[in-house]
Amino acid sequence: MNSNIWLLSFADSVAIATTLILAALGALFTERAGVLNLGIEGMLLTSAITSFLVADSTGSVWAGMLLGIVLGAVLAGIHALLTVVLRANQIVSGLALVIFGTGLANFLGKPAEGKTIKTTIEPLSFGPLSDIPGIGPVVFGQDPVTYAALLIAVVASWFLFRTRAGLEVRATGDDPATVDSQGLSVATIRIRYTLLGGALVGFGGAFHMLAQSAAWHLEATTNGVGWIALSLVVFAGWRPIRLIFGAILFGFTLQLPFTLQAEQITFIPSALMPMLPYLATLIALIALSRPSSRNILGAPKALGIPFVRDER
């Protein structure tokens, strides 16, 4: 068995995990405030194609990145408007966002279908450190966004559990009536974190496009990563640090068939492993729909429920 291939494949898993971490953190912030946004997949696609087009025409991946983030926030803004301000059903609005985002990406991406990007995000170079056998490529061979994603996850955890604003977000997701009685605006908090979540999802979409995929293909670019991100939040119990490990695990299983092929291991059907995250997603969504399992998993208690102030 070639240990080098396994190490390299682990490094690749971390890269796949980066998109997952960013998208799932976006979902996590949104859900911690009590808003369920199922539209992640559509937002990822829209941000991906936007960043592709912008990077392609300006030649700057960072400009592409920025526009991708903005688009993510804009789509999340639509969701916030519909569900927080107009109190529409969050599931319906989220699903509509998937359809809208996919359609928009399809429309914008028509001319670019199959086209490859010239500039991409390059891994950081730590000089000789990256060449350390074994851990070198894994720890020091990643691109800047991956390091940023890990940092964001750590900061998110600190923010949620160690700051006053974090306390308010968590309270809003669990018990908006109590937050309201303290003179804080439930709507403002929910809109704010839905937008922040959208920006993170957009970041993930742009990264996925610019660092991961060489070419734009509507069918293949995100490949359900948005849905997997949603399930990741559930399995991580809405905790950012646990989410990192979950993302790496999912990244690894998604990437495994390529390694197995390279190793010419055939006793495990290579199509089976990457199915696992999707299976997990299915389980997570079922769990989310059952009140008893939601409670056990630690879901925010008011997740998905519009807040209406009690009239009496």
């Binding site: 006053r164 308010e168 018990d175 109590t178 056990i296 009496r312």
Partner: protein
């Protein structure tokens, strides 16, 4: 400040010259569609005083309290704090003036710790939370009023009494000088009430003012420095001076007649078994909520289930009503099996049910009184309102429900009046003649006059041969009505005694889980 300024207001019953009232209302009025809830009400409270608001259901007590804390704005009249006119545009504005209300529905996040709940919404904390110092500070505030509480405990694990304590600590932490307690004892067991009163003393000693609302006259006599009686939105009486009155006088002041809440028991020997419960166990999400419950209720008998809330009472009632299926065991009503047959079947067997959660399960808040009554009466395809209307009008009168008529929405009734609508529906019988009546906390939140009425109706139902299961946290009520008392503790029957010879100390101890066994 100058006495000539029109900004200065003196307390209405406070002799001039002295320090201004801590908080006062000056002929405040509040109108809701169709009802004048407060009609030129004057009210004031001094530092270090307990001032009780007393009145029938719908008299306007909660409305006045809501205006005093900034939840509602008066239509006319004004509020003054330390003699200065203030506008309390929101509860937060009230808090900024040192006024806090402790609601009956606690405003606490279950998953948070005590300290996290206490500081939620505080603006004067640093962005990064220093848990250690916050916990210390919360303990400090709590202990200085004799309210010891573990700041690191999770609120969801606390008892109702402890949660109430957290609410009070929260108000004190936020700097409240005046606390409005709206029926704080309705949810407490006797020992917790005692504890609360100790805390109230500690707070008044420290110069805080307490506005107290309660229907329990014994408590009112014990705790109040002053009592203001409201009736139909108007102030109709005052009593000042601690111990200047007794419960009889208060009752008369309140409802204008004498009230008798004496002991009532079955007058006839009881008949055969109507409700039979055999080895009923219930497991919810892996937790045994009920374990091996067996008992019977006979014709013309009232069995009381005592116990602290959350020991399985709600589940027991729901299981009998067919809303929950027992994990094992059997239930029969009038000799016919009711296990796993659902709520409609149970009603067809002659069950009438007054559930715990009024506006959730008992009444449809967005529907009128009439439509709520129709729910158990009409089974035709086309709703026939006209035929039920006279009966609705009669029930509104009989139960003294304060409403504009049968079309009044359930949501807009005062707490006690919503309760009465539900009782009226269940006690007056539906399509099938009632054989078994299961009632949960039938008089919670009712005024003494209404309590008397409800007790009489329950007693009448018993005399008429109905079997009654009375589930209540109000031990007094069970002691004075039930022919047999069962204590439910952690889902099992911890104690059984005849009502006649029951000792309050023994029953109370069993409720707290201190004894087990069957007596007599």
């Amino acid at each position: 400040m100058s006495n000539t300024s029109h900004e200065v207001a003196s307390g209405p019953y406070h002799s001039g010259g002295a320090a201004p009232s801590a908080l006062s209302a000056h002929s405040v009025s509040k109108r809701f569609p169709g009802v004048l809830a407060n009609d030129s009400v004057d009210f004031d409270i001094q530092p270090g005083e307990v001032h009780t608001l007393l009145g029938e259901n719908g008299a306007g007590k909660s409305t006045l309290a809501a205006m005093l804390c900034g939840l509602y704005q008066p239509d006319s009249g004004y509020i003054a704090r330390n003699g200065q006119r203030v506008v309390l545009s929101s509860p937060r504005a009230g808090l900024q003036h040192g006024i806090a209300m402790v609601h009956q529905h606690f405003r606490l996040v279950d998953r948070f710790t005590v300290a996290e709940n206490v500081i939620l919404g505080s603006r004067n904390l640093s962005f990064v939370l220093d848990r250690r110092s916050i916990n210390e500070r919360v303990s400090e505030v709590a202990e200085s009023y004799g309210l010891p509480i573990d700041p690191t405990a999770t609120v969801g694990d606390l008892s109702v009494g402890q949660r109430q304590r957290v609410e009070i600590v929260k108000a004190l932490y936020q700097g409240a000088e005046i606390l409005l307690l709206d029926e704080p004892t309705a949810v407490l067991v006797p020992a917790e009430v005692e504890k609360l009163f100790e805390n109230v003393h500690a707070m008044t000693q420290a110069g805080k003012s307490i506005v107290f609302i309660s229907h329990k006259l014994g408590e009112v006599v014990e705790i109040s420095d002053r009592v203001t009686v409201l009736r139909g939105g108007k102030v109709t009486g005052h009593v000042s001076g601690r111990g200047a009155t007794d419960t009889k006088d208060l009752a008369r002041l309140m409802v204008g007649r004498d009230i008798n809440l004496g002991t009532q028991r079955a007058s006839h020997p009881t008949g055969h078994e109507v409700l039979q419960i055999r080895d009923v166990s219930l497991n919810v999400n892996g937790v045994n909520v009920l374990s091996n419950i067996s008992f019977n209720v006979h014709e013309g008998e009232m069995v009381g289930i005592a116990g602290v809330a959350g020991n399985g009472q709600k589940e027991l009632a729901d299981t009998i009503a067919g809303l929950l299926s027992p994990t094992s065991g059997s239930i029969s009503i009038g000799g016919a099996t009711a296990t796993d047959r659902g709520p409609i079947h149970a009603r067809e067997l002659g069950l009438a049910y007054v559930p715990e959660d009024r506006l959730g399960m008992g009444l449809v808040p967005s529907m009128s009184i009439l439509d709520n009554l129709l729910l158990t009466r009409d089974r035709h395809i086309v709703v026939d309102r006209a035929s039920v209307r006279p009966e609705a009008t009669r029930l509104i009168e009989q139960f003294e429900i304060k409403a504009n008529g049968p079309d009044h929405l359930a949501r807009k009734l005062s707490g006690g009046n919503a309760q009465k609508v539900l009782l009226a529906r269940e006690l007056s019988g539906g399509r099938t003649a009632t054989k078994l009546l299961v009632v949960c906390s039938p008089t919670r939140g009712l005024d003494v006059g209404a309590i008397e009425t409800v007790r009489r109706l329950l007693d009448d139902a018993r005399s008429a041969g109905q079997a009654i299961l009375l589930i209540s946290e109000d031990l007094d009520e069970i002691m004075s009505l039930a022919d047999r008392i069962l204590v439910l503790y952690r889902g099992s029957i911890a104690h059984e005694t005849p009502g006649e010879t029951a000792q309050i100390a023994t029953v109370g101890a069993a409720m707290a889980g201190l004894t087990t066994g069957v007596n007599g």
